[in-house]
Symmetry: C2
Subunit: 352 residues, 2 copies
């Protein structure tokens, strides 16, 4: 049976990316070698990582003179450490907007390295909203935001306006819509939601920001070293970077961020419309802050859970269970999710 994969991450990838990835495992570029057995310093792989970096800058409309692209190990959680090491001076202070679990984790890890100020938080209402009324002190080394909150289903529509360096964890909505990426100084994102498979983490850095913390930084955690070595201080995650290159190419071929934004808006609309229309369901996040990526909702009558789960399973709807920390349901409708699959879920909701 055809599955409709709403998994929050790792998550659905485009069919053509899967096909190309499977072929490359057996025979990459007609070399009679697998993508997973070739040297990361071979010209074949150098072309892959170079292409992936070019696609990132092209999709983000950023200039390679100003910005550097890295594909790092360790996920966004390792970026909590790297941003602190590379951007937070020993006596400096970092500012955070706390919009949920991932912001909170970023705050906790950054505190190990220095002073942290939480400028605003939506914890008071179970992270159902994005804080808006706050002022940003100007004595901060940088301001950190989490652009989309996978667990609660909230997403920034407008980012804080500030002269401070702006650092964004975009793990769950990177390249899902048009954005003025030049407003950001560091962007990082685990690949496994919108641009690939798990195992690699995209980092986009404004180069002029680096080398100013006065810290001695271990090589693997040092953006300057990683830039100097082209993300190859050590063996990179070859297969995951290859999959990201394919995914980014798919995004470009699809019409880029403008086209994917329209599709993502259409997908979210039919799902939120059904949640708002259907008395069996209620949305979790405040309407104005609803995420285009993670649609969170609850049953109004918990006794219908067994029936709903059964209908969903029968329709091939996969992985809509909410995060263990909030319960309910969550449909993740990342870039690769076809609108037809969202319609299948909507039909199941209608049938309840």
């Amino acid at each position: 049976m055809k599955k409709h994969n709403f998994s929050a991450g790792p998550s659905i990838l485009p069919d053509t990316v899967m096909q190309q990835a499977a072929e490359a495992i057996l025979n990459f570029n007609n070399s009679n070698l697998s993508i997973i057995e070739i040297s990361h310093r071979s010209s074949d792989f150098m072309q892959v990582i170079t292409k992936a970096k070019e696609l990132v800058l092209e999709l983000a409309e950023l200039n390679s003179d100003e910005y550097e692209v890295l594909f790092q190990h360790g996920g966004a959680s390792t970026q909590f450490i790297m941003t602190a090491y590379n951007l937070l001076p020993i006596d400096g202070k970092a500012g955070f907007i706390d919009t949920g679990t991932w912001s909170s984790k970023a705050i906790k890890e950054t505190k190990i390295f220095g002073n942290v100020e939480t400028i605003a938080s939506s914890k008071d209402q179970g992270y159902k909203y994005i804080p808006k009324d706050f002022s940003v002190p100007n004595d901060l080394a940088y301001l950190h935001v989490t652009s989309n909150n996978t667990i609660y289903g909230t997403q920034y529509k407008d980012f804080p306006v500030t002269d401070l360096p702006l650092v964004a964890d975009m793990s769950s909505d990177i390249f899902s819509k048009k954005l003025d990426f030049s407003k950001f100084d560091v962007i990082y994102a685990g690949a496994q939601k919108n641009i690939g498979a798990s195992g690699t983490t995209l980092v986009i850095i404004k180069k002029s920001l680096l080398g100013k913390t006065g810290r001695t930084i271990p090589s693997m955690m040092n953006y300057e070293v990683q830039i100097d070595k082209g993300s190859m201080f050590n063996t990179p995650s070859v297969f995951s970077i290859y999959v990201s290159m394919l995914y980014l190419q798919w995004l470009k071929d699809k019409g880029g961020l403008e086209a994917i934004e329209k599709l993502n808006e259409a997908k979210a609309k039919i799902l939120y419309d059904e949640i708002d229309r259907n008395p069996n369901f209620v949305g979790y996040a405040n309407k104005e802050d609803r995420s285009l990526m993670n649609v969170t909702f609850n049953l109004t009558d918990e006794s219908k859970k067994e029936r709903f789960d059964q209908l969903a399973a029968e329709a091939g709807v996969h992985a809509i269970k909410g995060h263990r920390s909030v319960g309910g349901y969550r449909a993740s409708i990342y870039n690769a999710m076809p609108i037809e699959s969202v319609q299948v879920l909507v039909d199941v909701m209608k049938a309840l």
Copy 2:
């Protein structure tokens, strides 16, 4: 044309592993979902990582009461940081045997965290040998060795005998032969040479060693956190761990470490015998310290280089160029390399 892949890493994997990996990209466990699109917390993937850990303990003949198995992000280079954070007390001292580039890098990174003493080094002779005549001070927090040196082609036959905790970077010879693994307290190894694809790093830790450094350790760098979360503090490198599970299963099915050791010895023997017999070649490493994994050699007459390279290419021999830091040739003959491919290389050497 069939390729014989002597790449130093990423490197050759068993054919059956490639086949299974390619199938799992398209349809994993008959789920109609890809291995790269399922949640790392799904029961399907939990079975994969649990099986991989069990296979590690089984092959190493280690007890799960005493030892913990992790599959980490970041390669061996990140283990340089993690071993320091987790094993080196703030006022303590770590001891290293310097047998080449990777030992030197480990030393350099550990110095960022504390005191380091280099007990012995073979740098004086271009790392052609493994130091043997040294005494280990007993005021060290631990002693670190690099079991096999990919670049120079040397390998420990006997490890230093010490009562100190023994930490080993086994990236280039893990599970290539029988070993009393219980003599080690921490073993780490990037997967991409002997047990998988790049993107994941095996760590085996004696649990009783942890929690004693007095350091505040960022979560991603903290062995205790990683153990507590079962290598899933964040999204692990799903595909790479799956490939390692397949590879470890292949090793077991092949007869385990005793069987692979015999095969690896036979492969190395025919190659070293040819190097010693053929006046066109000379080995790089001292005979008594020669690696079973990386066979390093040079031409005695550099004018024959073009002809040798051409003969090798015509026979499908891939990636025998020596590391850029030492030149010459290096044939990496890891676990998955069939003896037939080594014979092809030997035939090319004979034909020169």
